[in-house]
Each structure stands twice: as structure tokens, then as C-alpha cells.
Subunit: 137 residues, 2 copies
Amino acid sequence: MENLIKVLKNGSCKITPQRIAVYNALKDSPTHPNAEAVYNKLAPTYPTISLATVYKSLELFEELGLIQVINVGENSFRYDFIATSHPHLICTKCQKVEDLFEDSFSELASVVEEKTNYKISKQQLSFYGVCPSCSGA
Amino acid sequence: MENLIKVLKNGSCKITPQRIAVYNALKDSPTHPNAEAVYNKLAPTYPTISLATVYKSLELFEELGLIQVINVGENSFRYDFIATSHPHLICTKCQKVEDLFEDSFSELASVVEEKTNYKISKQQLSFYGVCPSCSGA
DNA sequence: GTACTTGCAAATATTTTGCAGTTAC
DNA sequence: GTAACTGCAAAATATTTGCAAGTAC
């Protein structure tokens, strides 16, 4: 059974075509779209879907732990399909947002906990710079 | 000579009471206020100052490298007086945003550069959790 | 005096909300 | 059948912009 279906059932949430569509749109988008981009991607296939529904679905998915909301300093939020917390790379020229997989960063939270007595539940690491293709051009 | 004055002169920008006020408001706020909070703080003393001016001043200060814009996932930006990039701690209960000074994090950028071929110019690290006073209560 | 800056108001952008109608179960 | 969900429109919130009046130099 698909992960989304399982998690929705678990949370006593209805399985609707809209939610499946939003979920798949995110899954197929390596670009970490914002809500409007998701909406635009779906609009041709689902002419009656509304932006509000996209927002509501994304909010639900975050509560269920299916996706991660990231904010890289634009004035809109981006949504990331991968639920595990990982750093992001933002190109300051072409604005693309990439994932960064670097194991050594996962231990940062415990360093912070030790130092501050906070109970850390989530972290967001963003690195801003110029990507190889932009710096090459 | 005060730092603000020096930097403004350097950038051929006028030294105005409003800019000085915004700068000092930030300097005196360990809470990393957002634009509206800065405005509210100034309003009693400067009844005619406008929110637009606060925004314009903050934008200018960022361009001049005097302050840092941070975004911890709210839908407003916060502004940080300290220009050097450092991690932030956000309490998910009381919403306060603290600075974290931890030297070992400064080398992260070079790790990322090596791994990705990005030329990193800025980083934002945010750790979310429950602060000691909230978890104690 | 002039170029920069301010402050107002309007515009823009993003996200949230209320509610009537619809749908999954 | 009922509670949950959708879609529309309006509201709320945050930020930007245009421009006339004001101010630093």
C-alpha cells in the first residue's frame, strides 16, 4: 500500500483525489516547490482544484510528518517531500534549492542539546552560495 | 564614531534620525524582532515614523552588512543585529529566538563547499526545540 | 540646490478562514 | 447518514512600491 494511503488512514483522514494529487506533485518535484507552484502544476489536470485545498493538504501532510516545510528566506514557504531533516543548498543566482545529504550533520542536534539544555526536535540548515553551473557560466 | 554612521557614510547614504532609531532599536533587542515589532517599539518615541521606512531601513542595513535577516519558519522575517552568521535556537513553546554561539559550526561551510562545489557565502542554521524554562514549567 | 529619504496610501503577495455544497466511508 | 473535505470568495497578514513633500549635505 502506498505510504500516503497508510498514513492518512492511520490519522483517520479521508483519502481524496486532491490529496493524492498534491502528494504526487511533491514527490515528482525535486525543486521543492512552494504552494503556488504545486497548484500550477496540478491545474491542467485538476481544473477545479483550489489553492486553499493545496494549502490545507500541505499543512495536513506536515502534521502527519509526510513532508517538511522549509524556508530559505523567500517570502513563501517551500515544501519538501523527504520527511527526514536534511540541509539545503540554495543558489543565490538561479534560486534553485537542492538537497544536501551529509551524514555528519545529523549529530549537530545533540551537540546543541548538550550545550543549551534545549530539547531539540527539528533543525533547518541552509547554505547559500553559487552553484557549479552558475559559477561556471 | 558610531559604526552605523561610518557605514552609512561609506555607502553614500544619508544619516537620518529614522535610520538611527531603527538601528538602535535592533541593537537593544535581544529578541530578534520582525519589522512590525521594531515599528511598535519606535512608535511612541517617533509618532510619525512609518512601517515602510522601517522596512526600507532594514533592507538598507542588510545590504550594508550591518544586520542579518533570519527566517525561522514564521511568515515574517526577523532581523538580527549581529552581522556575523551564527545559529539560532527557537523555542517551539514560547517562540523566542536566541543566539547560539558555538565555534565548531563555523567550519560547516567549508565542508559543504568541498562536497558540493558550491561557493558558499552565507548559512542559516536553526534548531527548534523546547527551551529549559518552558520544559521546566 | 539637489539628490536622497520619508511617510502616506495603494498595490502586491502569501496564507488563512468561513461556509455551503460535496464526497469518502 | 455523517463527519470530513473541497472550492470559492473574502479576510488577514506581510511586504513592496509610487510619489509628493521633506531633509541631509
